[in-house]
Symmetry: D2
C-alpha cells in the first residue's frame, strides 16, 4: 500500500516541484494538495505542466482534512505560516517535512533575532535538520524534519569536508553565492519581474541574509567550534540553480589533487554528491531539475587558499528533491527513489 | 532480458537526450554510444550532466561493432551521414530509428530537390514515417522508422484534425513557427553563439526551409489531396521548445467550443497530445523536457479563420522522445514507457 | 531657449525611456516628471540607471503644476487615465503627445467596443495619428498627437508599401507578431514574473487583442478600403523588440528583387526605416534601443504569397522614440534629433 | 578639423562598440576599419545594427594604409597580434590605444609568464595604463595607452579607495567576479554557444586567469606594497556586464556610512564612477551600454569585513568606452565626449 502524502502550499514553485517528483515515486500517493489562493481550482489549471498527469483539486488549508487524508505532510509554506500548522499535523500523528525556515535553527534566540517570535519553540529540539549527507542517522528516526535552505545546502556540502578534515581556518571563510530567480518564489514583486531580472545581475542582503545563521549552525557543528562566515547572495538571471564559490585559507599545504581525493572519499557513498574530476568545475546546467550537488575544488598555491565551487538546483536538492530524499530516508526506502533523473541538457 | 540499444551520434543534443530518456527505460539497455569527435572519451565527460548515471565510452562509428552490440539503433547523425550507415545496420538485422531527414520523404525527387542525391532510395518505400499519432499501424510493423522533423511534428499535430474533418481550405494555410536554439545543434557556428541569439529574434529560411516538403507530405496524406503551405521558421532565444501558430480559413462556420471539442475527440486516446481547455493557450514552458504536444485552438469569427497553436519540446517530441515512443510502439511495449515525466516548471 | 517638456507617468518603462532619449536632446529641457506611486522620490532612485544624469524629483499628478512648468507634455499613462488629463493640458495651451490608446482610433464606437466609454470624444477628430512615415503632414500641424501602438507601428510600416502599390489581396492578410516583455509594462503581474516568462513562449489575445482595430484603421486608410486582418501577438522572452511576420497573397506575380526595390523606393527618404538587402532579414537585436524599423521582404513563388518581416524596439519606435520623433516634427526641428543612436550590439 | 581614427580589428564585439560610440563623437571621424575575416565587406553587412549609420568597408590589415588614413589607432585585436602592429603604428607617428593585454603589464617577466614571449618589451616602459581614474596624469601625455582589462577595471575602481586609505589588510582580498558572455568574444567556440551558456552558470580559470597579475599590479601600485589576491571569474548568461564582489578584512572598524562617504569623496570629481547611496547596491543593468562604474559598499560588523560590489559594462567601461575616455584625455577634449549615454533600461 502506498504512503499517502499531502502537499501543503502546492501553488508555489516548491509545491509544484514536489508534485513533479512525487508523481514518479513508486511508493507514494499524493492525496491532498492545498492552496489558499487557488482553493477549488484544479492544480493542473494552476500549472498546466501537470495536465493529464495530476487530477487533484486545490483544497483550502484545513488541518483536519489533511490529517484525514495523509500519513506524511510536506509543508511548503512561508516561515511563520509553517509554525502555525506543523504542531497540529504532528499532534495528529503525521510525519512532517517542513520546507520553511521555522525549525531549522536549534537556538530559538537566534531564530527570533533573524526572523520573528517563535510560537512552538518546544519542537526545535525534536526537529531534525534534514541534510542527509550530514545528519542521516537523525533523519531516519525523525518525525519532524526541517528541510534545509537552498543556500545552506549548497554551502554545507561544499565546505564540510574541509572542516571535518581540519584543513582550513574557519575565520577566513568567504561564501559568494548566486541563485536563480525561482528562489524568490512566485509572488508578484517588482524585483521579480522579467524585465527587472533579465540581463541584470546584483548582490542583495549583503551581511544580512537570513540563511547566514543556518549556514553557520551547520558549519559550526561540523567543525566542532563556532564558525562565522561572510555570506553574499546574488540574483542570477536563470530559472533554477545555485552556485556557491567558497574561499578559505588552508591551514596546511594541499595540492588540488589531494583535495579532490579528500572530497571523493568523503562522498564516496553519497548518491547525490558528485565530485568533479581535477581541472573541471561544475555548472548549474548539469544539475538542473535533479537532486545532484556537483562539487569542484581547487588549491590556489599562490595565495594559500582553497576554492570550492558547488552547484545544486535550488528547487530540487535545495528544496523539493531534498525533501523527497528525507522522506525516503525516514520511511526506510531506497534513498534515491524518484530522484535519479538526469538533467535535461541543454 | 533487456533490449540492447545503440545511439549512433551520441554527442549532439539529440544524442544526449536519447541517453537521458533511455536511462529511465525499464526494458532498455544502452550498450553502445558512438561519436567521431569524442571517440575514446567517456560520454559523461562530454556531458557532465550524465556523471554517475552513465559509464559508457564513446566508440568510433564502426558498423560491425554496433551490430555486435545492439538490437536496435538510433541514428542521430546529420542527413547524408545517415544514409551511409542505415542500410548497413538494416542489412545486419537491426531495427533502425533514424532521426535524420534521409528517409522521411517518400518521393526521392523531392528529397533530391531539397537535400542532395539519395544513395539508398530503395529504402524509401519501406521506411515508415514515425509520427505514431498518424501512422501508428505502420510503425508497429516497421523495421526502419524515419523519425519526423521537429517543425513537421508540431505542425502535423496542430493541423491534422482540421484537415481530416475537412473544415479548412488547405490553400489558405499559413504556418508561423518559432524554435528554441537547440534545434540548430551543437556545432560551432557564429549564428549559434550566445551573444548572437540572446535578446534577439529573427525569421530565417523564409519560403525555403527543408521541413516544408515534409510538412506538405504529411498534410497532403491527411487531406487526401495536395496541400501547399507557407512555412516560416523563427529562432527563439530559449534552449528548447517549438511553438507553431497555424492559420487557415474555415470552410464552414465553427465556434471555438466546437473546434476544441473536435480536437479533444481526435486526440482522446493519445497519451501525448493534450488539448488546452477553451480560452487557454499552450506555452513551450509547459512541455519542456517532455514528450507532450499541447494544442490550443481558436475560431476567429471576425475573419473566418481558425488559429491553432501547438507546442512541443523540439528535442523530445520533436526528436529523441518521439524516437523512444516509436521504439515502444515497434517493440510492442507500453507506448509511454520512459516518457511520462512532467516538465520541470519553471 | 529650450522647449520645456513634462513627462506624465515617468515611472513606467516608457517614461524612463523618454527621459533617456530626451536627456540627449539639444533643444529640450525636461522640467517635470510625474509619478503617483513614487511622488516625492528622486527619479534616479526609481531608476538608478539615471544616477548622475537626472536630478528630477517625481511630482504628483497635478495639472496646474505641469502647465506651469512645461510647453509640451508626453502622457505616458494607461488608457482611460490619459483621457482624464489630456483635455486639461490642451485647454491650458500645451501641446500633447499621448502615448496611450485613447486618441488613436478615429471612430468612437470602435474605441468603446474595444476599450471603454470615451470621455472626450470631441478630441478624436483633432487628434493626429503620430506615425510620421504615413501622417507627417498632419503631425506637423498637430496639437494633440496620438502616438501609435507598438504592434501597429511594426505592422503598418511592413504592410503599407504593398497596400499602396495594390500588390496584395487585403483579405488574405495574416499578421503574426512577437513582442518583448517590456510591452507588458512594469506592473506586478504573475504573468510578467521572470520565471513565468524566461524559457517560455506563448501566444495571447488571439483574435481579441486591442491593437487589432488600430492596425485595421491604418491599413484601411492606406488601402483606401476596409481591411481586416488576423492578428496574433506572442510574448517573447527578451526585454525589448517586436518582430512582425506579415503574410498576404500577391495579386500579381512579383520577384523578391522587385519587392525589395518597391520598399526601397517607398522609404528612400525615411531616416528611420531601413530596408534589408535582398536575401537578408532583420533581427530585433539590430534595432534594440533605437528608433529604427528594419524591414525584410520575400516573395514566395511556390505559394504566391509575400512575407514581410519587420522589427522595431517596442519602447523606442514603438513608443518613446516615435514620441520624440513626433515632437521633432511638430516643433519643426530636425526629425532625427536625439534619435540617431546605434544599437548596442550585442 | 576632426581627428581621423582607425579601428584595427573592427569585426569583434569591441570593434563594433568602438564604432557605435565614435559615431556620436563630435571631434572624431572614423576613417578606417580593418578586419582580416571580412576584408572587402561593408561593416554594416557584418553588423546590420550599423546600417544607414556607417558606410565603411572593412580593409585588410595594412599598416601603411592605416598610417595614411588616421591620426589615432585603436587596436582591438587579440594579444600577440597587437604587439606585431603597435610598434609600426607608433613608429609612423600615430597615437595608439591598444585594447589588448600586450602593454598592460610593466614587468616583461610577468607578462611572459602569463602570456608568451614579448616582441616589443622596450615599449612597456613608455606604455601608459589607461585607467584615467588612477592614471590620468600619465594618460594626458601618453602616446601608447594600454587600455585596461575588463575585470581589472571593475576591481581597481572597487578596491582602490580602501587601499589608498589603508583601511584593509591586502592579504585578505578575495575577488569574486562575474562577466557577461560578450567578454568571451565573437569566435566560434563550443563554450560560447547559446545552449551552453543560457540557463547555465560556472566559474572558470580559478586561480589561473590572466587578469590576475594585472589586478595585482594596479592594486600594488595603489597600496604602495605588493598585493596578492584570490580572483575567481564566472560566466554570466547575459550579453554584457561585469559585477565584482570584493571582500577584505578591515584593519580598523568602519561603519557602512563611513565607507560610503570615503568612496564619495574619492570619486567626487569622477564623471564615470557613481557611488551607490547607503543601503543600495548596483546592478549591471543600470550601466549596460554606458561608461559608468557603479560601486556599492557595505561594512559587515559581524565579521569585520568590508564588501565592495562594482558593476561595469565589460564592452564599454571595460573596453571600448574606456578607450574613448582615454582618447578624450589624450587629446585634451572633454573627458565625457560621446560617453554620457544613459543605460536603456530595461
Amino acid at each position: 500500500m502506498k504512503t499517502r502524502v499531502a502537499i501543503v502550499g502546492a501553488s508555489g514553485y516548491t509545491g509544484v516541484e514536489l508534485i513533479r517528483l512525487l508523481l514518479n515515486h513508486p511508493q507514494v500517493n499524493i492525496t491532498c494538495v492545498t492552496s489558499r489562493q487557488y482553493a477549488g481550482q484544479a492544480i493542473a489549471e494552476v500549472f498546466p505542466s501537470l495536465a493529464s498527469r495530476c487530477q487533484l483539486i486545490c483544497a483550502p488549508m484545513d488541518v483536519a482534512e489533511i490529517v484525514a487524508q495523509a500519513d506524511v505532510a510536506f509543508t511548503a509554506v512561508p516561515h511563520k505560516t509553517a509554525m502555525e500548522i506543523v504542531p497540529q499535523l504532528l499532534a495528529a500523528g503525521l510525519k512532517v517535512i517542513d520546507l520553511s525556515a521555522d525549525y531549522r535553527l536549534r537556538d530559538v534566540e537566534i531564530y527570533q533575532q533573524w526572523y520573528q517570535t517563535h510560537s512552538s519553540p518546544q519542537l526545535l529540539e525534536e526537529a531534525v535538520y534534514g541534510l542527509p549527507e550530514l545528519y542521516r542517522a537523525q533523519v531516519v528516526k525523525g518525525r519532524l524534519v526541517a528541510n534545509p535552505g537552498c543556500y545552506p545546502t549548497s554551502v554545507a556540502l561544499a565546505v564540510a569536508p574541509l572542516l571535518k578534515a581540519q584543513l582550513i581556518d574557519p575565520k577566513t571563510l568567504v561564501i559568494d553565492s548566486k541563485s536563480g530567480t525561482s528562489g524568490a518564489g512566485r509572488s508578484e514583486k517588482l524585483g521579480s519581474l522579467y524585465c527587472e531580472v533579465n540581463e541584470g545581475f546584483k548582490a542583495y542582503g549583503v551581511g544580512s541574509h537570513r540563511h547566514t545563521p543556518e549556514i553557520e549552525q551547520t558549519l559550526s557543528e561540523v567543525a566542532g567550534r563556532p564558525v562565522q562566515v561572510s555570506f553574499t547572495p546574488h540574483l542570477l538571471p536563470v530559472n533554477r540553480g545555485i552556485l556557491s564559490t567558497c574561499y578559505a585559507s588552508l591551514s596546511q599545504e594541499q595540492s588540488t589533487g589531494q583535495l579532490v581525493e579528500l572530497f571523493r572519499q568523503t562522498y564516496a557513498d553519497e548518491p547525490f554528491v558528485r565530485v568533479c574530476p581535477q581541472e573541471t568545475l561544475p555548472n548549474i546546467a548539469y544539475v538542473r531539475g535533479t537532486n545532484f550537488c556537483d562539487v569542484g575544488v581547487v588549491a590556489d598555491q599562490r595565495t594559500g587558499r582553497v576554492i570550492v565551487v558547488s552547484v545544486i538546483d535550488n528547487l530540487v536538492k535545495g528544496a523539493a528533491g531534498q525533501a523527497v530524499q528525507n522522506l525516503n530516508v525516514m520511511q526506510g526506502w531506497d534513498e534515491t527513489s524518484a530522484l535519479l533523473g538526469v538533467a535535461a541538457y541543454p
